[in-house]
């Protein structure tokens, strides 16, 4: 059977035919495993720019002769989710743009990307506010840290919060970004409502210098375990046991979580590590990723040489289309060898917030099983 773009190529290629091709169609065109990116407009060249590790990061679209329609067909495995932009080249200058034919956007601290949903990928329903879900509340707290000075921390309190109860504590690196780009607040509301996780208190930290502080920095471990968590446990009804205390982060935030747990073994009984930047070397001490990674490499190399059970349960996730997939896959057996309970999940996605968003249900509900198993109404 002809692909949609082939019908256009083989047809009369009149303006009416082109208009008919675009009418009532969603873009990019998903036909089985084939996904066709399309651009309409005059240009010298159009390039697909994406961050799928393993494919050329820039690929040229082909013009349908005699029209202003450009296309590129890629084979994407089922369940894939790809963030991209289109580079429109005019007068020798390339400009990166979102795909105006595709309404799907993913936002991150650097702006927004268009998103292609491969066959079988669906946006999880639990990321959207649900009418029956009672939302939690987000407060802010200012902590005068001896280590870092004044820091702002956002605190999530679940719906029906009661001071007479004891809640688990989840500490989230880059929490503000998780709230903004990964719908963390709504996801917590929904998962709690669905009994998939217990009501919990969540502390969302942010750092003005994360690449330094998160890279196995003793000051950061001290900030979390000597200052933030004890203060929260004094101020809020928190179940102060390692089993109910989780540290979480993505990318460098995952390094911060793992290195803090390593520096304070047994303190955090739960870890949630997403697309960790766990660079290491098998020989030498310089990784190809550059000097910012040097302290990470030193840390991971040390951990690989002498793995220790620093926590009880560790959830690790990574996108198959990330350059960090090798590092994360390598981490898992090493963590498992220590006796820790480790769950590893991969997704056909990249190093981005919506990948991390989509894995939160599985990760949080595994680390903190909610009362779902106990409730029979």
């Amino acid at each position: 059977m002809l692909k949609a773009i082939e019908t256009l190529q083989q047809g009369p290629r009149t303006a009416e035919a082109v208009d008919a091709f675009f009418a009532g169609r969603t873009f990019p065109i998903v036909e089985g495993h084939t996904i066709t990116f399309v651009y309409r407009g005059e240009a010298e060249a159009i390039h697909l720019k994406h961050w799928v590790f393993g494919l050329p990061s820039s690929q040229q679209l082909t013009r349908v002769e005699g029209t202003d329609v450009w296309f590129l067909a890629l084979e994407l495995p089922p369940g894939s989710r790809v963030e991209y932009k289109l580079e429109v080249v005019r007068n020798g200058n390339g400009e990166w743009r979102e795909d105006s034919l595709n309404p799907n956007r993913a936002r991150d601290p650097f702006g927004a990307n268009s998103v292609a949903h491969g066959e079988g990928y669906a946006i999880p329903p639990w990321i959207h506010p649900h009418p029956e879900t009672q939302p939690g509340k987000i407060d802010e707290l200012f902590l005068d840290s001896k280590v870092f000075g004044r820091r702002r921390v956002e605190i999530y309190l679940p719906a029906r919060f009661r001071r007479t109860r004891r809640y688990p504590l989840l500490v989230v690196h880059d929490g503000h970004d998780y709230l903004r780009y990964a719908a963390l607040g709504t996801i917590l509301d929904n998962l709690i409502h669905r009994l998939e996780i217990p009501g919990m208190i969540v502390a969302m930290t942010s750092s003005p210098d994360r690449l330094v502080e998160y890279a196995n920095d003793e000051r950061h471990a001290s900030f979390l375990t000597d200052e933030l968590v004890p203060q929260l446990e004094r101020a809020l009804p928190i179940d102060a046991r390692p089993q109910t205390r989780c540290l979480m982060g993505a990318s460098f935030g995952a390094v911060a979580a793992l290195s803090t747990a390593w520096r304070r073994p047994g303190y955090f009984g739960r870890l949630l590590l997403q697309s960790g930047s766990f660079a290491f070397t098998d020989i030498g001490d310089r990784n190809h990723r550059g000097p910012l990674f040097d302290p990470v490499v030193a840390f991971i190399n040390k951990l690989r040489a002498q793995p220790v059970a620093m926590s009880e349960r560790v959830f690790v996730s990574c996108g198959m289309y990330e350059s960090l997939i090798y590092e994360n896959r390598s981490l898992v057996p090493m963590l498992q060898s220590t006796g820790m309970d480790v769950r590893y999940v991969e997704a056909r996605d990249g190093h981005n917030w919506e990948n991390w968003r989509d894995r939160l249900r599985e990760g949080l509900s595994w680390l903190f099983p909610g009362p779902l198993l106990f409730v029979y109404e």
Binding site: P369, L373, Y376, E377
Partner: protein, 313 residues
């Protein structure tokens, strides 16, 4: 544990709409009825719609609220109960780790290409290993509960005794006891704390969903569609044992993968010789002398089959 009660009706889930009132009517219960909604935890008192549905005079025993009062008044008992729960949680965690590994082992064995007869033997051994784990876990729970009761004699403590007296009086005036579901640990603990089974003498029981699970000898937690991975059923604790040799799984259509014949078969073999019934809304099991006399529910078979409309015969 518990005396044989001659008149028990087990019911399926009461969501989205209850039918326990219909069951009372069918049984000719005129009231008053003692109601237990402790499984609803803090929402225990939000029973107005249910009471209207029951259509007979109803008194909520308010076991959850009473337990809060007990723990506020008796700090020693409160601390001991919390310590017991913490220990039980840890024991449950370890049981769960062993269970996961036993399932992995069973799976690893089941995919071996060996003589079918040997494989069948090995699968039997795998089920026996699960039974052993379940049995050991139940025994550890029992030891923990017995130790708590022997050490703290909750019935003798004034804070508990006062409430038991009140509960006893309500029960004496009640024709039936209705136990709703909810959080089965909360429900189990509250009913145990006040020894409601010991106080109940002649009343008929109408127990729905989680409440029905607790009246049997063993309470199994299950969900084939958990938010992560694959669900593995686990035994929570002993139930009150008013219903013998029966395992109840409410909310069949939402919680059990009926297409997984292997999973159902393994579970039924694991709980054998008990009968395993799954209940959807409208389901009923009628019990006399601790044994099933009549039913309208699904019976799960040791071959993984689901017998719909099982009548108890």
């Amino acid at each position: 544990m518990g005396q044989l009660t001659t008149n028990i009706v087990l019911l399926g889930p009461q969501q989205p709409s209850p039918d326990v009132g219909d069951a009372l009517q069918e049984a000719g219960v005129k009231g008053p009825v003692a109601l237990i909604t402790a499984g609803w935890q803090e929402r225990e008192a939000e029973d107005q719609a249910l009471v209207e549905h029951l259509r007979v005079k109803t008194v909520n025993l308010k076991l959850h609220a009473r337990s809060e009062q007990v723990f506020a008044a008796d700090k020693e008992l409160s601390a001991a109960a919390k310590a017991r729960q913490t220990r039980l949680k840890a024991v449950n965690d370890f049981y769960r780790i062993r269970l996961d590994h036993a399932f992995e082992a069973a799976h690893a064995i089941s995919v071996r290409h060996v003589d079918p007869e040997l494989l069948a033997e090995e699968q039997h051994e795998s089920v026996e290993a699960l039974k052993q784990l379940d049995g050991d876990h139940l025994e550890r729970c029992k030891v923990s509960h017995d130790h708590f009761v022997e050490s703290w004699q909750p019935n003798q403590r004034p804070a508990v005794a006062k409430h038991r007296e009140e509960i006893g009086k309500i029960l004496d005036d009640s024709e039936a006891i209705v136990v709703m579901g909810g959080h089965v640990v909360s429900l189990l603990n509250r009913m145990k704390l006040f020894d409601v089974i010991g106080l109940a003498k002649k009343q008929r029981w109408f127990a729905a969903a989680g409440g029905a699970m607790l009246l049997t000898e063993r309470v199994f937690l299950f969900h084939d569609f958990p938010p992560h991975g694959t669900g593995i059923a686990e035994v929570l604790d002993h139930g009150f044992g008013l219903v013998k040799s029966l395992v109840v799984l409410p909310d069949f259509c939402h919680r059990i993968d009926s297409s997984d014949r292997g999973g159902i078969a393994r579970f039924v073999q694991r709980i054998a010789p008990a009968t395993c019934v799954a209940m959807d809304p409208g389901g009923r099991v009628f019990v006399e002398g601790g044994l099933v006399r009549r039913a309208l529910c699904h019976r799960l078979g040791a071959d993984g089959s689901v017998e719909e409309g099982w009548t108890g015969c």
